[in-house]
């Protein structure tokens, strides 16, 4: 029965691939659901923590506390700590469970004192993290508490996000994104597709059974009906090869593009300097103010590498025997300036001014230079890419307090926006602010 044969072939020939493509569609949707979910999660955390946050203090939820904590965390802790992973210091998630509040407060205010007191946990911690000294922070109780609130909030969010990542079911209601219309649609689609898949498999099973009971099938038909899943054949099938090749191509392309974007970026660049000057010692341990040596930082475009006479202010008397200090003496005697290796190399086409950022914008050195007071050898902390500049200009609020330059601008800005005045609002993203 040619007609039938054609029919079966048609039926099987189309149904199976249909199932396959449905499967792949399903996979695709699941993947994209993941990424969307991830994005909404992170943005949710950063912008509007409107979920229930569990504060450590008994009062329970308070958005303002978390927001305050986030701010404090970003300015004080972020450079060394993350909530969910080890950086320079330990991951802070769960710290409120590991140690009690008083211990935490003591440690934050003066970790060295805690270590010196013989606290075992503190000593272990100090050893574990290569004896990195945590900068003492003179924070109020409430401030520390709000930081902890933030950490707790953040930690729980990350966990629930991870749960969503598992992505088994759309029924995890504990972590609904607030504006998750897209997610909802996607989840709906996944469910529908899964149902269709189930139905299709049922149909296939049913049809196979039905056909097997028929007698008039010839050999060829039977082969088709009873064909087993053949992995080798699948692997060799042009469709599979094509898909694999395509995915491979995409991956290669992406890594090439990523690689190209890394060209000229020297993040982490820590060249050996002619004199082994330690910021950790000077800025960290002895807490010498950055301005003391970098004299231009509040009045010039460049912060200035200190001239040898500044070194001599102290090293005229101190550590005069040190081999490294001898190098400075030699430079002065031979009248040959010290040739430091430049770490931060902005391209010539970009204009950067320290006075604008440090004095007017009131930025900390660490914002761009990292925990310089803990660096034995200075390394480039920030990528110094335009994207990095721009993202900071998009987020940073302008320090307008007590500066008559901004009075009118703040007023005008307030007329049409409830957001605080950010750098981007006063033209901080325009080309000719940095390129001329």
């Amino acid at each position: 029965m040619p007609h039938d044969k054609f029919h079966y072939e048609f039926m099987f020939g189309t149904l199976r691939p249909a199932c396959l493509s449905l499967l792949s569609l399903l996979l695709f949707f699941l993947l994209s659901l993941n990424s969307v979910q991830g994005q909404t999660d992170s943005s949710q955390v950063e912008i509007s923590p409107d979920n229930t946050a569990v504060a450590v203090t008994s009062d329970g939820t308070d958005e303002a506390v978390v927001a305050e904590g986030e701010k404090l965390f970003n300015t004080n802790c972020r450079a060394c700590h993350a909530v969910d992973k080890k950086l320079i210091g330990p991951a802070l998630a769960g710290v409120y469970d590991r140690r009690d509040l008083d211990w935490i407060k003591l440690f934050i205010r003066n970790s060295q004192a805690v270590i010196a007191s013989g606290d075992e946990y503190a000593i272990d911690l100090f050893e574990e993290y290569n004896k990195t000294v945590m900068t003492p922070f003179n924070l109020a109780d409430s401030e520390i508490e709000s930081i902890l609130s933030f950490i707790k909030f953040e930690a729980e969010n990350v966990t629930s996000a991870a749960q969503t990542d598992a992505g088994v079911a759309s029924t995890d209601t504990g972590n609904q994104a607030p504006s998750s219309f897209l997610s909802a649609v996607l989840i709906g689609l996944v469910v529908v597709l899964a149902l269709i898949l189930v139905v299709l498999f049922l149909i296939i099973g049913f049809l196979t059974k039905f056909l097997q009971q028929r007698d008039e099938l010839d050999e060829a038909d039977r082969d088709i009906v009873n064909q087993k899943f053949n992995l080798t054949k699948l692997v060799k099938s042009p469709a599979f090869v094509g898909i694999v090749a395509f995915v491979f191509g995409i991956l290669v392309l992406k890594s090439v593009i990523d690689g190209l974007y890394q060209v000229g970026i020297q993040q982490g660049y820590a060249p050996k300097q002619p004199i082994a000057f330690s910021h950790k010692l000077h800025a960290g341990q002895f807490e010498i103010d950055c301005n003391y040596c970098h004299t231009g930082v509040r009045k010039s475009k460049s912060a200035n590498i200190p001239s040898a006479n500044i070194c001599m202010n102290c090293h005229g008397q101190i550590l005069t025997e040190s081999l490294e200090i001898q190098k400075i003496y030699a430079a002065i005697e031979n009248d040959r300036p010290i040739e430091w290796v430049r770490v931060h190399n902005l391209p010539d086409l970009a204009y950067f001014n320290h006075e604008q950022h440090v004095k007017v914008g009131d930025q900390e050195c660490q914002t761009c230079h990292g925990q310089i007071q803990e660096m034995e050898v200075v390394e480039q902390f920030a990528p110094l890419t335009m994207g990095w500049c721009i993202s900071c200009h998009k987020e940073t609020k302008v320090d307008t307090k007590g500066n008559a330059y901004y009075d009118n601008l703040v007023e005008l800005h307030a007329q049409h926006s409830n957001e605080p005045l950010k750098v981007e609002d006063i033209g901080g993203l325009e080309c000719a602010k940095c390129h001329y």
Binding site: T295, S307, E339, R342, L412, A432
Partner: protein
Amino acid sequence: MSNSNKKYWKGLEQLTNDPEFVKYADKEFPEYLPINGNKQSSDESVEGSSRRDFLKIMGFSVAAASLAACEAPIRKAIPYLNKPEEIDPGVANYYASTFTQGGDYCSIVVKTREGRPIKIQGNKLSKVTNGGVNAQVEASVLSLYDQERLVTPYANGQKTDWESLDKEIKNALAASKNIRIVSNTILSPSTKKAINEFIAAYPGCKHVVYDPDSAYGMVKANQDTFGMGGLPTYDFSKAEVIVSLAADFLGTWITPITFINQYAKRRKLNKVQKEMSRHFQFESNMSLTGSNADYRIPVKASQQGLIAATLYNKLAGKSGKGTLNTSSVDVPFIDKAVDALWKAKGKSLVVSGSNDPDVQSIVNAINQLLGNYGTTIDLNSQVYHRQGSDPEMSQFIDDVAGGRIDAVIFYNANPVYDHPQGGVLKTELKNIALKISTSDRMDETSVLSDFVAPDHHYLESWNDAQPQKGQLSLCQPGITPLFNTRQAQSSFLTWAGADETNFHKFLQKNWQDSYFPESGAQDFENFWNQSLYDGVVELAESTDTEQGSEENDDIGSNEFTIDLNAISSALKSNYHPESTETELVLYQKVGVGTGSQANNPWLQELPDPVSKAVWDNYFTISQKFARENGLSMVEGKTKIATLSVNGISVSAPVLIQPGQAHGTIGLALGYGRKHVGRVAEGLGTDAFPLVDRSTGTLRYEITKGITFEVTTADHQIAQTQTHETFMGRETVIQETILSKYQQDPAAGQFAPKISTWKGDKDKVAPHTVTLWKHHKEKYVNHHWGMAIDLNSCIGCGTCTVACQAENNVPVVGREEVLNRREMHWLRIDRYYSSSDVDSYASLEQAAENPEVTFQPMLCQHCNNAPCETVCPVAATTHSTEGLNQMAYNRCIGTRYCANNCPYKVRRFNWFKYHDNTRFPENSSMNNSLGRMVLNPDVTVRSRGVMEKCTMCVQKIQAGKLVAKSAGRRPTDSDIDTACAIACPSNAIVFGDMNNPESKIAEVLQIKYQDRHKTVEEPRAYTVLQEINVDPNIFYLRKVRNKDDNNA
């Protein structure tokens, strides 16, 4: 213009609509030019590259790029060993100082970065120059970094050291009897004192002073008529009527920076000031001053004396005084000038550029008749800019030829080149046993000298200057001496065996002795420091001790004596009312001057204000003369001509100059240098040998015995005038005349209306139809704008050089200017205009003596910028401060923006001009010495990107930061553009239009209402209003003080 049938044109080829001009006029980037071979297009590049070449290059670049990407080069950061207290890397320091070059003077402020001068600005505290500068002063900072400077002293052509040089010179001087010091005018009293010490040590020594641009005729006339052998101060700001007999007082005459400032004060019109001066100019060449005159009358040089006499006679007739017995000349407007002068008695000024004492005596007599002494001319306040004596110099050269001189010191003077008898000197110098030059380079004189003891550049020197009675100024170094040079004054003191050879200390001592007691200050240290800080000191009238002994203390007008008969007969023999001879008038270009800074590429590339020619000098001839000789000139393509007089012949290309008096030929001095450096050597023709010295004073007009022959040799003069044309949209220039302005301040306004979709009936103002509605509403913070007063802009080009220095604009050289690739961000468009150009006959008439308008043209920072719309990569965008921004690194060089710019102000980098041996002229970028002049705050642009005026955004940003740092709003004094600072006539005003207290708000009469601004100044207009690009640069309409609106 809506109200006249005036025609504006930039060059003759535009006026005659020459086919070749038309062909190229619409092409800003003429594609017929070879892109590869700019200098020598070898066969290879003509063939073009094959596909394989392309692949090879491609493969190589990919490999090179990936290799380069592997490891970034290690860059060093080298701090001071001992940081000077006042220097902070990244912060500019400003020092008051003084520019002197011979008798040319300017009080300046030097901007230094990390201890190197990078920019010169005017010193506003100076009563002499009032914060003005000119192109030569602006460019002088580049001369500091000239590669051709000597790095060490020389003895007999060999390098030597100072010690052995001093020893040899002292021995040789001791053996010499007749010693001469030859110099140009010396303005510095302390230098003169040092020279006097030298003369005291060597009694056989005399000091000979000459000036390459002599004003001895004036000095002599003043001596004859007033007994005062010097030059008086002029005050053009008090003159209602100015008559200039070929005196280029805005360009090169005596002290143009001062005069420009004074002149411009009387040319500004606003709500309060409704009157302006009226300016008549009788001249042969079209000078910068003449092109600014209300009435410019081309006359032959041979008529000059008689014009002065006629003026005198007519005025004497009115006042009933004795007249001169000379034939009167009939030139247009002379009666008008006489009437105007007579009406403005005591408030007028007659000046003459002639170096003939007789003419100058008559001019003195005219001013005396008009009662101008004491008002516009002050004999009591002498200026010292020209102290040279022509007879003394002639005597010196005769002595040299006669072998009567044993030793000579050329103190920063180069008479072999810039004196008419330089040729004689060149051959006769061998008669002198000891020849010393203090020149900073191996110039024409120092190559013939036995010893060269190179002087510091003025920016490395301590010095003082007294440009005018009672006005002193100090010069302090802006940089440690770059080379092993020594200040010439120290050399004099050393050779004189003085106790104090350090000129800094000598100078201080002199000030302590001479000026400190007069100053009334308590403490010398304070007086000295304050004087250094200010750069200038004004002393009471009586304390003038240093200058010439001939000077009388008080010269009253009653001491005037003149021998009319003697002058009459002299004039009769020297001048002719209707000479038919060809005459030569030598002049100086505003940029190159007498050629002492000829090796400065900024000056060479500065277009001549009138001819707009660069890198060349040429014979300027009249249109009629050209027609008679069958000459034509299109796109600078012309013929070489040869001019012979008194057995000397020179060759130069001819340039047809509208306004050139028929029968006269102009030729610029300062070119044709033989030993100066690679920039200027071999450029143009040396005209100094042509100067006439038959009458005892140097005459720059030669009226007899000239043969002029045009050869068949071709030459192309690089002119910028016809580049970047506006395609016939002539409303770019708007002008009116004074009487109409007084009736209606908006007279001459062009108020275009455009048709809408409704058809031609309902025409509307252009700004009502726009695609961009809300740009301006975003300007909440600042709104930068500029106002350029076409009435007080004299077209001198100072702003062009200032912009070049501030913004690292490359020099492209003659070849590339010919290829229309000049890079100046700010150009000055010079428009000729003439009425009723319809017929061929009237066309020739028009070219005879057109009116001239200057219009500085720079990026207009349009609010609806056409360039921004077409950039495919958003490299040019708009800021919220009204600026049109250009991100070089983003630009991919499509040049769409330039094509779409109606003002043609965008410049494309056809080549990598920096570090490129093919552009040796670009000396500020092609060697490590020259690069010291670059502004570190501005990117040096590379090949393939567009660039243009940024409104000095680096200065805006810096000024804003100063204000933010101090917690206040910026004011005018925080932020100004390089062009506005440099402008000696204050025609350019820049500022924040959002700030009601700013100068620009006042100039443009901006009214503020609910955050909306309206410009209410009736003279203000924007160029090409009809296309509604809405520029932020406003021009104030030109008003001529003429009687009717026809030329």
